[in-house]
Symmetry: C2
DNA sequence: CTGAAAGCGCTTACAG
DNA sequence: CTGAAAGCGCTTACAG
């Protein structure tokens, strides 16, 4: 019922192998023949059968996207956005995107294993980095192509990664506040681990030192107090709007009394006033580049692993003010 | 290199067809033989080759999830959440999930067509409903199995849909506010189309009438004013927190001056105080049931299409108060 | 530049 | 209850 390569071959008066070759734009086939075959294909409305192609070629033409094993993925706009951009770029490469989600490392691992062993995908994009987990160890051990979005901290040379320069971004955040005249700047975080925290905090520290200012790290437990700080570098948008509300309860107004810079430029940044001054991390580029790197890796499995740094962009809005 | 059905057959001392049959738990094969084969499979670490299986059986063992052609998907936690739950249920059924995303109907349609024609998926779950679009028309025209999450408004009898009862939910929201003593209740929306708006507004209207109260519809353009209303039913969480902020700018305090009930119970509901009294729409059930319905449809293509109504749950928090 | 043929790893009537 | 064989729709060395 569906039209196959054979039907096309018959129509074009050639052999099926010739059809296959023109589909893949084989250089040996003459342009004249290619034209003939292409005409037959469109006339018959030919679509390849991916299963047959996969079986014969050994390639899946699909990649797997692995989400982090956390429950609150849906609260972070990043994930949906990166998935969209990954799919966009994948489509350009005629690649299908499948997903692996789960709340535990074990669930994720089993999904990843099944996907690869059943030859449903050729490689993976991991949407989380940091320390190696079961999934990454499995991929490394079995020499399966993958790229990580974020910054891995172990076996870095064996991993292709795509990320922003979080240290630089945080350094620029601090610089920006300093340029507005702020001298007492604090870094606010609700976690004390994870690569994102470490890099952003480090960038802050280094810049503070370079400027000869004093800066402190505030961990927002229950009882948050700004102290004498007049400006805050906050780990991310969600935390920033919570901090701003807490300040407001204490009668402290942003940006009149305290300036706030945060990161990610997500929906939360322009949800309520003051809209946040925040860094756009360029999710589109992160997604596109990671697909491109994976495609490259698939074609050249022995090539060097490398890290791609995607540029960021400061969005100045309402939460910062010159002192 | 990878172990095939033949390897297993040899090891177990049977024919490959017998291996295939025990994989599918064919009733004709004796338990003794099945045991033997299963033993051989685990010993050799057999994994099926999905491509071969797809080619031979004509089934993809995969479903496509189609996201709405809107840019702000990432701002709505619903999408990531439903994707996760769909994948969860799919995995239980040994089905892979692929995705289709795009900003235009045309992009989506072409993705859906390619996925189906290349036999990469057996059917689809659409994450948006309402009026028919190109995608849905294509699926209907070609008799391709699909289920819609939400409420379709055309050719309803030909479509399997999974949704909450938005009318009832809104009616209960209104009822709840009335039970707190509120007599002047308004419905707030920033849109005036879409099934969700229509159903929720209708439920509000009907309940208001049934209670003999007066209610009004407020569209939040630039200059929002509560007027004399002491309670608001707001279309969704995001709008609710924006409304609450605007009220606050006008010196009106929620819930002391005005009560607010909203819908979706997303992250936004417990982001800033007052935490929202809101309806949980049970995304997990929506996701699970839609996969189950699609799986059923795949097995019984001629069965009736039907609508599945998933229960909801009122989460009382800080934004409502007895008058 | 093109064709004929083998093979990818399964499934499934058909026999027995 | 099990086996032998054909076939699913491609790809790709091998010939010519």
């Amino acid at each position: 019922m569906s039209v196959t390569i054979k039907d096309v071959a018959k129509r074009a008066g050639v052999n099926a192998s010739t059809v296959s070759r023109t589909i893949h734009d084989h250089p040996a086939i003459s342009d004249k023949t290619k034209e003939k075959v292409k005409k037959a294909m469109t006339e018959l409305g030919y679509s390849r059968n991916s299963a047959a192609q996969m079986l014969a070629s050994g390639k899946a033409g699909a990649i797997g996207v692995v989400f982090p094993p956390v429950a609150n993925k849906s609260e972070q706009p990043f994930f949906m956005k990166i998935l969209t951009t990954i799919n966009e770029e994948a489509r350009k490469n005629k690649i299908t995107v499948s997903i692996a989600t789960g709340y535990s490392n074990a669930t994720l691992l089993s999904q990843v294993q099944v996907m690869y062993q059943e030859k449903r995908v050729d490689g993976f994009i991991l949407l989380y980095a940091g320390k190696a987990d079961d999934v990454r160890n499995y991929l490394l051990a079995d020499d399966i192509p993958f790229v990580v979005i974020g910054t891995p901290v172990e076996r870095v040379n064996e991993i292709t990664a795509v990320d922003n320069d979080n240290k630089l971004m945080s350094s620029e955040a601090t610089q920006y506040l300093a340029s507005l005249g702020h001298k007492r700047i604090a870094f606010i975080s609700n976690v004390d681990s994870g690569e994102v925290f470490h890099e952003r905090y480090l960038g802050f520290r280094m810049k503070i030192q370079a400027l000869g200012l004093t800066g402190q790290l505030l961990r927002t437990i229950e009882d948050f107090e700004v102290g004498s700080a007049t400006a805050l570098v906050v780990l991310d948008d969600v935390l920033a709007i919570r901090i701003i509300q807490r300040l407001s309860e204490q009668g402290i107004v942003v940006p009149d009394d305290v300036s706030v810079v945060s990161f990610n430029n997500s929906i939360f940044a322009s949800l309520t006033h003051p809209y946040l001054t925040t860094f756009d991390i360029n999710v589109t580029q992160l997604g596109h580049r990671s697909v491109q790197k994976l495609v490259h890796l698939l074609a050249h499995p022995e090539d060097y692993r490398e890290k791609v740094i995607v540029p960021f962009d400061l969005k100045v809005r309402e939460s910062t003010k010159a002192i």
